[in-house]
């Protein structure tokens, strides 16, 4: 089992933001965390990456995350943050090589092998032509490709994605998610992602965990979790679920019916 979380709780500034959450994630699987803003999705990702203290237990390939040590965690888990910090004058190659950091000594320098790892990560993401570009000159989609390449260069077996497509247009969103899906298919990468686009969540993840108020509300396959009733209850949104064998699942927002009284006032 890649990941096994039990009764996980996280408090930030003594305020509990995640309570009693549990899930399992098999090697090669893709678990999508969904839920309204502030539900605790990002916090769970941070706990898995060992970046915040948690109560309960998070076991990664059998080892408790809190006990592994930061560098060892970084060799197993790569994080793509929601809003990556982009040093604009850094070249893409230099940036992707940063992903090799957990494999170097404390102040070690990247060698030719690390440069090759970075270049092949970029090539894998169809970004070989970007190597010498500066990050500040990239489009949103290209930038996200560089960030993903850094995560791939990290050579980790678990990839954490925090809203990986939030700033991208629909084409770039699809490209990025397809790249992640192909990494998963080719390299046996396991993916844990927080996603706010429910259609994407339903189409790419094979299991979903619905969070609200820091607590687990539903878990299961996309068909089990993405229901009109659950989405109305936890997101306050009227939607229609469209699903067929050919296109997969899609969550279509509906304009709520306007009541006559409200329309007048």
């Amino acid at each position: 089992m890649m990941l096994e979380a039990r009764d996980v709780g996280v408090a930030l500034d003594r305020v509990p933001v995640v309570e009693g959450v549990g899930f399992t994630l098999e090697e090669g699987g893709w678990l999508g965390l969904i839920g309204p803003n502030g539900a605790g999705k990002t916090t769970i990702l941070k706990a898995v990456a060992g970046l915040v203290r948690y109560s309960g237990s998070i076991r990664m390939q059998g080892d408790e995350v809190a006990g592994i040590g930061r560098r060892a965690v970084a060799r197993r888990v790569a994080v793509v943050p929601q809003i990556p910090v982009i040093p604009p004058d850094t070249t893409v190659l230099d940036y992707v090589v940063l992903g090799r950091t957990p494999h170097l000594g404390y102040a070690g320098s990247p060698g030719p092998r690390d440069v090759v790892a970075a270049r092949s990560a970029l090539a894998r993401l169809d970004g070989a032509h970007l190597v010498d570009r500066r990050l500040g000159s990239l489009s949103g989609g290209e930038r996200q490709r560089a960030v993903l390449a850094r995560a791939v260069a990290q050579d980790a077996s678990l990839l954490l994605l925090d809203e990986p497509t939030s700033a991208l247009d629909v084409g770039a969103q699809q490209q990025v998610l397809e790249l992640v899906a192909s990494l998963r298919a080719d390299g046996g990468l396991t993916v844990l992602s927080a996603m706010h686009d429910l259609t994407h969540a339903g189409q790419y993840a094979d299991r979903l965990l619905l969070l609200d108020g820091g607590r687990e509300q539903a878990t299961g396959t996309p068909h089990e979790v993405l229901t009109e009733e659950l989405i109305l209850r936890h997101f306050g949104a009227s939607v229609r679920i469209v699903a067929d064998a050919e296109t997969g699942i899609a969550v279509v927002p509906l304009r709520p019916p306007v009541e006559a009284e409200q329309a007048v006032s």
Binding site: G28, L51, S109, P112, V115, S120, A121, G187
Partner: protein
């Protein structure tokens, strides 16, 4: 363990060139700059020794070269007892201030950060002012100014660091605000002490504006170990400073012990700076303009910025000291005035002729 690493075999790419560090061109430029600055600093002054003659004299001390010196005993004394210690002190102080500034800008991700911002200057100023105003140690003929300035600078940054940590914010902004607070408090104390003893105001003022007058090699030998150790620690961390450029959280997710790196770099830069200002006074601006000029011209990676700041800072301060002691000879201008007066326009030109870059 299955992992993305397995992709490498299936998607071979040709071996690329290694990452760019300091290019040969810049390494040569930095070397030439330092040597020329040092030779000018040694040769010029009230007595013009001549650059070629100085070079011959220096080389005559290198075995197996067979170079003969043309110096008289007096010229020899001027060179080795008066100018050389001052030039070497200038090299050390300049290298220290510039590399410490670069390192601070890296750990705080703030283009205006340097040890002065966290209270090093205010603390050193307070220490030196107390010694001058109350004539501490004056009877024994012992100059306690360097020691007091060193203690004050270290204390200032330590208090700022502890204050920033105790507030608990992980944001670097908290630390900088703590530094500004401590600096304001120390400056207030320093001004109070200074005003209370009006007869020493002149002396305090000239110390604060900086000078490189030495009492010979002793001062240089005291500063040397601090600068060497500090510079080595900073250079050792140059790649980690690049990692910190992606922020504390991402650096941590890449396995970097962020708090420890920051503490080590701040401690090294602060101790080195404290030792430098103890003998040079508060030379402003070097820690800001030298690293930024390097970034604008040679690249923004700390693999480039740190070593080049070290070299260019060293040469830059020697040249500024040369101006400070020759421009209005036989009087001397405070070197802090010269670094700002000549450094600011130079930096403005660099800024205008290159692209804009961040820290």
């Amino acid at each position: 363990m299955t992992s993305a690493g397995g992709l490498r075999a299936r998607f071979p790419v040709r071996q690329g060139r290694a990452l760019r560090g300091v290019s040969l061109r810049w390494a040569l430029a930095a070397g030439v700059f330092v040597v020329v600055a040092a030779l000018l600093g040694l040769a010029l002054g009230p007595v013009d020794l001549g650059i070629v003659a100085v070079a011959r004299e220096v080389l005559s001390h290198v075995p197996f070269l067979g170079v003969q010196s043309s110096f008289s005993e007096t010229e020899d004394a001027i060179l080795w007892e008066l100018r050389a210690p001052r030039v070497v002190l200038g090299l050390l102080v300049g290298a220290m201030l510039a590399s410490a500034g670069a390192a601070y800008q890296g750990v705080f991700r703030n283009p205006l950060a340097d040890p002065y911002l966290l209270g090093a200057a205010a603390g050193a100023g307070l220490g030196a002012t107390i010694v001058i105003a109350y004539d501490v140690g004056g009877d024994g003929g012992l100059d306690l100014r360097p020691l007091a300035a060193f203690a004050g600078a270290t204390l200032g940054v330590a208090v700022a660091y502890l204050l920033g940590r105790s507030v608990g914010g992980r944001e670097t902004t908290t630390l900088i605000l703590a530094g500004v607070t401590v600096a304001a408090f120390f400056t207030a104390l320093q001004t109070y002490v200074q005003q209370r003893s009006a007869d020493t105001v002149q002396e305090v003022y000239s110390w604060i504006l900086g000078q490189l007058e030495t009492s010979g090699w002793t001062d240089v030998l005291i500063v040397l170990p601090y600068v060497v150790v500090s510079a080595l620690v900073l250079l050792w961390h140059r790649r980690l400073l690049d990692v910190l450029a992606v922020g504390d959280d991402e650096a941590a997710s890449l396995g970097v012990p962020v708090a420890r790196v920051r503490l080590l770099v701040v401690a090294a830069a602060t101790l080195g700076t404290a030792a430098a200002v103890a003998f040079s006074g508060l030379i402003a601006f070097v820690g800001i303009i030298v690293p930024h000029a390097v970034r604008l011209m040679a690249g923004t990676s700390y693999r480039v910025v740190l070593p080049l700041s070290l070299a260019f800072g060293a040469g830059f301060l020697v040249l500024m000291d040369l101006v400070s002691r020759t421009a209005v000879a036989p009087a001397q201008l405070p070197i802090g005035v010269v670094t700002a007066f000549l450094g600011a326009p130079f930096f403005a030109v660099v800024l205008r002729t290159t692209r804009t870059v961040g820290p």
